[in-house]
Symmetry: C2
Amino acid sequence: MSPANRSLERGIEILRAFRPGSDLLGNGELAERAGLSKATVSRLTQTLVGMGMLQQEPLRKGYRLAPAVLSLAHAMRSGSAVLQVAAPLMRALAESKHINVGLAAADRDEMVYLESIRYSRRVAFRNVVSGQRVPMELTSLGRAYLATIPPTRRKALYAIFKARRGRQWSSLLAEIEQSLRCVRESGCCAASWQPEVVALATPLQSADFSYSLNVSVSTGEKIEAVVEALTTPLLELRGAILKSLSLRAGE
Amino acid sequence: MSPANRSLERGIEILRAFRPGSDLLGNGELAERAGLSKATVSRLTQTLVGMGMLQQEPLRKGYRLAPAVLSLAHAMRSGSAVLQVAAPLMRALAESKHINVGLAAADRDEMVYLESIRYSRRVAFRNVVSGQRVPMELTSLGRAYLATIPPTRRKALYAIFKARRGRQWSSLLAEIEQSLRCVRESGCCAASWQPEVVALATPLQSADFSYSLNVSVSTGEKIEAVVEALTTPLLELRGAILKSLSLRAGE
DNA sequence: CGCAGAAGTTCCATTGTATGGAAATCGAAT
DNA sequence: ATTCGATTTCCATACAATGGAACTTCTGCG
């Protein structure tokens, strides 16, 4: 493998520094985050503005992501066979069972939703979220993914989680390992990392991709009851998606 | 202005080569589009894969945009004050008038939807599209934008359109100039670049941004009837968005 | 009104590294 | 096996990216 292009790496790292909550960043802040000199960051941000990936607030306050990133996302979504096939099936399940259904992929040490269909009584609130990041180590989505990857990569991710979680790591590790066993035995695992929300996830992978599929409900019920009720629909959804994909590929 | 960073420019240009319909691109094709040597492209794509912006299809067939671009889009959307303010107002108008409502920004020589709320009888089809690109020179959105920019920039864009449209350019130019007058006189302009769809757009700008707002309907009616019916709602929507924004900024 | 401070940009010599041609490798189809 | 196409690696060269320092701009405060 050839050495990577440093300028490009740095430029992309600058783009990736923008997140919900850090939507307006100045050169100084970017320089600090990326460990670069102000001069370098200044030139990189100028280039990114020139390419239409960033726009600067008028008063030199800082930079924001520009609309062009939306069209990259659009291109990615419209080119994803999995998403095209899965979305209608996910929507149908969400409607019929009145639950949330999500599809996510790993990005570094987090999971990113390709699609998250939120069921809600109010039709207007049934919004679809994509691009949202959730922690890999805490979520059912992330653990389902961890169950599918080679041990080497899993170890590397564990190191990141450990650095992030500090003293809570050992108990978290036990939880994760338990989830991995669950996935291997029953095909899916449950987690509740946010109050009142229980989620159940299963890996969705083939030679081409490695995603996670989940369902979730806002409920006061115990986890076990949710697992009982949703395991079969989730696994059936997975089966339906894989079947549709193989049919499509065969054409 | 310092010279731009060439490697970064090229890397971003590679990302931007991915579009709906060109979702799987190999190094050769990328090299041709960007006018680069295959060796250079090979290294840049490797870097982009390493940064999680591209993923390669297993059989070396080519590269695709990776899920990370979705989270860039998510960050951009959640950080956009205009979009946060406008979206609910747009949705309300779409529901009450049974029309499509869109918000778009310029990206180079095209318009990119920040949000497009498609009204449809079937609730399940009221999907929201963002990131879709439409031609600037043909759409009401694009012409509303053209009406707001400095003549120098407009001239530069005209040159691009002319190169693209060839012999049709002179009549198209007349149409565009007519639309610009419309925008200046009545605040908005109409266009119908797709059969059966009439759209009406108005600029939505301030010191910070320069967007376009539109409404559209699928209809057999004449353009004039649509203009008559929708001009007032569109301009009122624009007013409501600008008012909410100034209130928010004042806090 | 002007000054002080912070943030950003430009300058410049140095160094590193990105580049493209050519060769080697890989994979696929025959 | 063999060949063809595409991709990656190699390598010397030259270009361009870099970071420290100087300079400019903007902001807030005295």
